[in-house]
């Protein structure tokens, strides 16, 4: 990397492994996270590939039933706890929050580094569990299966997830304090980029929700290791209690995954449409509304579990209510395009793809919130399709858009545009071909987590596996050209997209201290069209 002639930036400010492992620079910690979660994503993808191969034929013939059960369990655990939850917050949130609000770093740089180490220790436990035999409970760990029946590495995995939860909590605390106390002069609350609002809402969920899953996992461990009766009815426990506790975190966790992506989309759409965001305050408020309502809908995962009819009705009505702020966001992004001056660089394609896939994911969520309908499609491929539309079509699409949008800022290099656009198209097409047939499979009645299945479901499963192959290529292509760009990519200027936002007013990549002088903010977010491009 010939940066010799370039100014000192956070990447070349210091060299050596030690300078990375002991760094307190939020940008370097973001890079550490980026590398870690990329490894976890690839691991999770390998599990997905094997799952789709098994489902190519009705018979359970590629792997043993036990192996298949471990595959979908570990796919879920790795992708959710070790990729999606940390993805945008820990990588892009870490990198961008201080830049976006005009600060030199997060409020607690050491805590930030600690959160990465905690994540790594948790990941190590989980990987150890995988290597020494895996775990087969499903990522949901339903009791009493997980505490009494499973003969796999439940405890090691649980410890891994328990530990990793603390890294979420530390990140959440850090973000909230940073947003409250470290905004540059003039950066009032209603001038904050919506990315920051989204991370504020996400951090609230992380702080309030994660302790609950930690305690739940702890109780699960106590019952499994010491036979303390909490969930197992044979020991006087209640298996449904586990589901309540589990979903009290794990439903809001979906919003941990999707809210940051929504923040990303607000940044990208405004930039490439050269428009102020439509309805800033509605979008900001809807993030908070989602965070709050998200805590009140967990029971919609339990409509068939002996829950009372009245409880089910309350959870159903609240689940419909939580859909409204999401719809508001989609309408606002669409309206932002009106009278814009729109271009279609790769980040924009990912963002538009997000809107399409998230809309389908959100609308099918209504099907699941409708009580009488959920009874039929609960625990079928309809649910699998729905949450992949939200968590992969939504969250992952947003993550890819964000990586492409801020790559020049993070690395100082431009990636080649053509393959990036192709990969956005491949991901969009491959994704739909993979998961749309699963809605049909679900309504036909194919249950999830089936190693073998009746023959009449094969055609749709073959379509799904075909789509997954395209999707896989769509993910591999960016990996290639992004790595390539580190050496061969064109050097990026400070603001290659002509974007508003403080992060574009410093060098690419930024210096360690972010800004030469503390920026002073004099206008609201997304003040397009930009006046003079200025670099502080």
């Amino acid at each position: 990397m010939d940066r010799a002639e370039k100014a000192v930036d956070y990447l070349n400010a210091d060299y050596g492994v030690r300078s990375w492992l002991l760094t307190r620079d939020h940008k370097r910690i973001a890079i550490l996270y980026l590398l870690s979660i990329t490894v976890m994503f690839m691991l999770g993808s390998v599990f997905a590939v094997l799952i789709r191969l098994e489902l190519l034929t009705p018979a359970g013939d590629v792997v043993q039933a036990d192996t298949y059960n471990k595959l979908f369990t570990m796919h879920g655990i790795v992708m959710i706890f070790f990729f999606l939850v940390p993805s945008i917050p820990a990588v892009l949130g870490n990198f961008l929050l201080p830049l976006m609000i005009g600060a030199r770093d997060l409020a607690f740089p050491r805590l930030n580094l600690l959160s990465w180490y905690v994540y790594m220790v948790g990941a190590a436990f989980t990987l150890w569990a995988v290597i020494t035999g895996g775990v087969d409970t499903g990522w949901t760990f339903y009791t009493p299966y997980s505490t009494t029946a499973s003969h796999t590495n439940v405890l090691a995995t649980a410890v891994g997830i328990f530990i990793t939860g603390f890294s979420s909590i530390l990140t959440g605390v850090n973000f909230i304090v940073t947003i409250h106390t470290m905004r540059a002069p003039g950066m009032t609350w209603f001038r904050l980029p919506l990315f920051v609002w989204a991370h504020y809402a996400t951090s609230l969920i992380m702080i309030l929700g994660t302790p609950v899953i930690a305690i739940t996992i702890l109780m699960l461990g106590l019952e499994r290791a010491f036979g303390i009766g909490i969930f197992d009815p044979a020991l006087g426990g209640d298996p449904i209690l586990f589901q309540h506790l589990f979903w009290f975190y794990s439903h809001p966790a979906v919003y941990i995954m999707i809210l940051p992506s929504m923040g990303v989309v607000s940044e990208i759409i405004t930039c490439f449409a050269r428009r102020r965001i439509f309805g800033y305050s509605f979008i900001a408020a809807s993030s908070l509304a989602i965070a709050v309502f998200g805590f009140l809908v967990w029971g919609h995962h339990m409509f068939t579990s002996t829950q009372s009819v009245y409880a089910a009705m309350v959870f159903s009505v609240l689940s419909f209510a939580v859909a409204v702020p999401s719809a508001v966001k989609v309408f606002n992004w669409t309206a932002t395009l009106y009278r814009g001056s729109i271009t279609f660089e790769a980040p924009m394609l990912f963002a538009l793809g997000f809107i399409g896939l998230f809309t389908i994911g959100g609308l099918t969520g209504l099907f699941l919130a409708a009580l009488g309908l959920d009874v039929h499609v609960h625990d079928t491929y309809f649910v699998v399709a729905h949450f992949h539309y939200i968590m992969v079509g939504g969250a992952l699409m947003g993550y890819l858009g964000a990586i492409h949008f801020w790559w020049p800022k993070m690395t100082g290099r431009m990636y080649p545009e053509a393959p990036a656009r192709i990969s956005a198209a491949l991901v969009f097409v491959g994704f739909n071909l993979t998961f749309f047939p699963q809605f049909i499979l679900g309504y036909l009645g194919m249950p999830r987590r089936y190693h073998a299945y009746p023959e009449e479901f094969q055609v749709l499963n073959v379509m799904s596996t075909t789509g997954a192959s395209i999707l896989g290529v769509g993910y591999l292509v960016p990996l290639c050209y992004l790595i390539w760009s580190l050496w061969r990519g064109r050097v990026a200027e400070a603001n290659p997209w002509g974007a508003a936002g403080l992060e574009w007013r410093t060098n690419s990549p930024p210096p360690t201290e972010n800004f030469a002088a503390t920026p002073i903010v004099e206008e609201e977010a997304y003040a397009y069209p930009l006046k003079e491009p200025e670099v502080v």
């Binding site: 059960n69 009494t148 809309t359 209504l366 009580l371 023959e455």
Partner: protein, 332 residues
């Protein structure tokens, strides 16, 4: 069973209601999905950048009115969906009074079913068309879920409690029975078939079953035997005793507990009272009943519960057989 298709068979009274709601939601979703997609595509083309000239700052649309509109309208539509979904759910939750009861016990990895007459089945369920059927279900080990896609019904089968499910088949045929809650290694093999038969064929099947294993005593008879064998009858006499209350006619009634709260006597309460007698003592009795946990399996418990349900005041029945039953002990 049907070969490749895009839509499942509908073979129960509730299936049409679920499908109706499904089509309504598809219509609404398609409308909004196409609206958003159409607008995004249209606006993207209409307002694509035509030159490098700096765009002017065109006035925003009337933001507040639009915002309020697209907050309120989706909310109202979603409330229609809620109401519709809830009313179907209520129908699913309330079995008709004339429903025939069938007992289901799930275990890794099979379904054990027993008809009220005693006929047993494994991974198969034979039912007559046009007759409401109520399933009372529990599990011997982990959570399972009883799912018949053609009937659009599903309920989790949870250890330690009873869950119910009802349906009325409308079409003769053979339909999938799936376990829908992940339950371990052979989860995907915990499947079977539901055979919907003409009533006359069903009666023939019920009385046939030359396979001797399939022929068993009716659960209520098994329960009667257990009630005597396990010594329940010594305390729970028909006229009651110092040790425990009479069980005659208690099913469905409300009882006052020693703790001062009240409880409705249902299957779950009876089951709990056999296995964990101290949990809910009826007011006026001492906690002296021993637990029967470990002495009765799930099928025996179901039989016992069925027997207690059958106990009615003597004057209402001419069967004296009941007279010696019922009374007893710490917990009723």
């Amino acid at each position: 069973m049907a070969k490749f298709s895009l839509f499942p068979e509908s073979a129960s009274t509730i299936a049409g209601q679920v499908d109706g709601l499904f089509f309504f939601m598809i219509a609404v979703s398609t409308f909004f999905g196409l609206l958003v997609a159409g607008l995004v595509v249209f606006l993207s083309i209409r307002y694509r950048r035509r030159s490098d000239a700096v765009a002017t700052d065109p006035p925003l649309l009337n933001s507040l009115r639009l915002e309020v509109a697209w907050t309120i309208i989706p909310f109202l539509i979603s409330m229609v969906m809620f109401y519709w979904g809830a009313s179907v759910y209520v129908t699913m939750a309330r079995p008709p009074d004339d429903a025939e009861e069938i007992f289901v016990v799930g275990k890794q990895w099979m379904w054990k079913l027993q008809h009220i007459e005693g006929r047993r089945e494994i991974n198969e369920l034979h039912v007559p068309v046009g007759q409401p059927i109520k399933l009372t279900m529990t599990s011997e080990d982990v959570i399972h879920s009883f799912y018949v896609p053609a009937f659009r019904i599903k309920a989790d089968v949870v250890p330690g409690r009873y869950n119910t499910l009802w349906f009325e088949a409308t079409k003769v045929g053979t339909y999938h029975l799936f376990c829908a809650e992940y339950c371990g290694t052979e989860h995907s093999k915990m499947i079977g078939s539901v055979y919907v038969m003409e009533p006359s064929d069903f009666q023939e099947w019920l009385s046939g079953g030359s396979g001797s294993a399939a022929r068993s005593a009716a659960p209520v008879e098994v329960g009667r035997t257990l009630f005597a064998e396990k010594g329940c009858v010594t305390c729970h006499k028909a006229e009651g005793s110092m040790m425990g209350p009479s069980l005659v006619g208690i099913f469905g009634s409300e009882r006052e507990l020693a703790a001062g709260t009240r409880v409705v006597v249902d299957e779950d309460y009876l089951r709990e009272s056999v296995l964990n007698p101290q949990a809910k003592i009826v007011a006026g009795y001492q906690p002296v009943m021993p637990t029967f946990a470990g002495q009765l399996d799930e099928e025996e418990l179901l039989a016992l519960v069925q027997y207690i349900k059958s106990l009615e005041p003597v004057d209402a029945r001419d069967e004296s057989a009941e007279a010696h039953a019922g009374q007893g002990e710490g917990n009723g």
